[in-house]
């Protein structure tokens, strides 16, 4: 037993203390959080735009007067649908590799590449989250806004989106957690995230147990932490839902 603990201790020192190897973990963790956060923001922006186009199309297209607006909306909706189909129909690792080897072939900014890939990927899922949120707001709310004299955009902005956002907040937070784990494939294209950090230590020390367990542990703690946060958020929201 004592012997086992001693091995454990020396393994630990070898993996994390020697040559400051812990830096691979902390720097990797920083990269992972950075990628996740920025991708999430990008996903929300893309998702919001796509959701607005798609729900505007669903709500209004059939009653719109013929003209440039109607044409643009149809075109926009068409491209949004292609985006959703392609992104949700292909693996994220493949999208990441396309981003790395084709689109950003001349760039070596790993974070930029990862954020682009994961942000665009996440946007497709967030778009559907937002769309379901917008559709879940009773049409009477929209009509009440319009009947007061608000235009389409103002009605959406002041009346529909705040309610939609509230109802999708838990799903959005969940998407963040999914994203956090999903970014672990960033190492595929030489991005030094948390998973890659552990893998580098494994390669340098020939120790598999310690580094991988540490990486898994860190992901787990983060996911548990954010899940707790989401739960608190959900409870808060339900409470204010009077």
């Amino acid at each position: 037993m004592a012997e086992f603990l001693l091995t454990l201790k020396s393994d630990f020192i070898k993996c994390f203390i020697t040559k400051n190897r812990w830096k691979f973990i902390t720097e990797g963790l920083t990269a992972t959080l950075k990628i996740t956060l920025l991708s999430c923001i990008m996903g929300i922006v893309i998702g919001l735009v796509v959701a607005i186009v798609r729900s505007t199309y669903d709500k209004n297209y059939s009653q719109m007067r013929r003209g440039l607006g109607k044409f643009l909306l149809a075109v926009g909706n068409f491209f949004c649908n292609i985006y959703l189909t392609v992104i949700r129909g292909t693996p994220v690792v493949v999208q990441l590799m396309i981003m790395y080897y084709i689109i950003f072939a001349t760039s070596s900014n790993g974070i930029l590449i990862a954020v682009s890939a994961f942000g665009i990927n996440s946007g497709a899922y967030v778009a559907e989250i937002f769309r379901s949120g917008i559709m879940s707001v009773d049409n009477g709310q929209f009509e009440a806004g319009r009947s007061l004299g608000f235009g389409y955009i103002s009605t959406m902005l002041y009346i529909v989106f705040p309610q939609a956002f509230k109802s999708v907040l838990p799903a959005l937070a969940n998407e963040f957690i999914v994203l956090l784990k999903e970014t672990s494939v960033a190492g595929y294209v030489a991005i030094k995230d948390l998973t890659k950090g552990g893998d580098i230590i494994r390669g340098a020390t020939y120790e598999t147990f310690m580094p991988l367990l540490a990486v898994a542990g860190i992901y787990l703690v983060m996911v548990i932490f954010f899940t707790k946060l989401v739960n608190i958020l959900e409870r808060r929201l339900r409470k204010s839902e009077r």
Partner: protein, 247 residues
């Protein structure tokens, strides 16, 4: 069109699902300033569609609507400006659940009429006082009863200083004991000279408050008259049948 005509409707038609449903099938009507028009008729005869067409929540298939002499069905017109002049009260209240009562009432005046916050709130409070709900200004809609919600919805529309108020079965979603408090507010509004178009099944209200009662049937106005003419001396057989059921 006489000077005090506020709304004029010519040959209004609204067809749904490619023309198979003729919700409105040629409606003509002239509404004078200060007039209270009550629309009655069996379910599905097009009452809501007519009211919703007046502020273009439904786009008419055919026909014209003039508000103060301006053809609002002309696509050139800014419908948002015209809607500001027509307050609408819905059966389901449609208060904004994420805002306090005060915010519900002041949102449109502040954003659309560019009233400053203080003026808008003062005005809201005085309107709330009139309907006996000044103490609920900071409550949220879900904390109110149905009757209170509907009175707030009326106030919210009034805060825009509309020329006309449209009511689509404002008491139909209410528990019976709350119908009176809403009708009372509407009655006061009528006495103050507000132009009103009211779809309702409250025949007592129609008899007491209406200047003109309209009976609709299958997307058309089947009979028009004063409350006495409609209720004491109905001519159309379907109106007689309808009154036999509701009175």
């Amino acid at each position: 069109m006489s000077d005090n005509t506020i709304i004029k409707v010519n040959g209004l038609k609204k067809h749904f699902t490619g023309g198979t449903v003729k919700a409105l099938d040629g409606v003509d009507l002239e509404i004078k300033k200060g007039e209270v028009i009550v629309i009655i008729g069996p379910s599905g005869c097009g009452k809501s569609t007519f009211l919703r067409s007046l502020n273009l929540l439904e786009t008419p298939t055919e026909g014209e609507i003039f508000l103060e002499g301006v053809n609002i069905t002309d696509p050139q017109n800014n419908i948002n400006l015209h809607r500001q002049k027509m307050g609408m009260v819905f059966q389901q209240f449609n208060l904004f659940p994420h805002m306090t009562i005060l915010k519900n009432i002041t949102l449109a005046p502040i954003k659309l009429l560019r009233q400053n916050k203080k003026d808008a709130e003062e005005n809201a409070l005085s309107l709330l006082k009139r309907v006996g709900l000044a103490d609920r200004a900071n409550a949220y809609p879900s904390q109110l009863s149905g009757g209170q919600k509907q009175r707030i919805a009326i106030v919210r529309a009034l805060a825009m200083n509309p020329e006309v108020m449209l009511f689509d079965e404002p008491t139909s979603a209410l528990d019976p004991e709350m119908v009176g408090e809403v009708l009372e507010v509407m009655k006061e509004l009528a006495q103050e000279g507000m132009t009103m178009v009211v779809v309702t099944h409250e025949m007592g209200f129609a008899k007491e408050v209406a200047d003109k009662v309209i009976f609709m049937e299958e997307g058309k106005i089947a009979e028009t008259g004063s409350p006495e003419e409609i209720f004491q001396n109905p001519k159309h057989p379907r109106l007689k049948e309808f009154l036999g059921k509701v009175l």
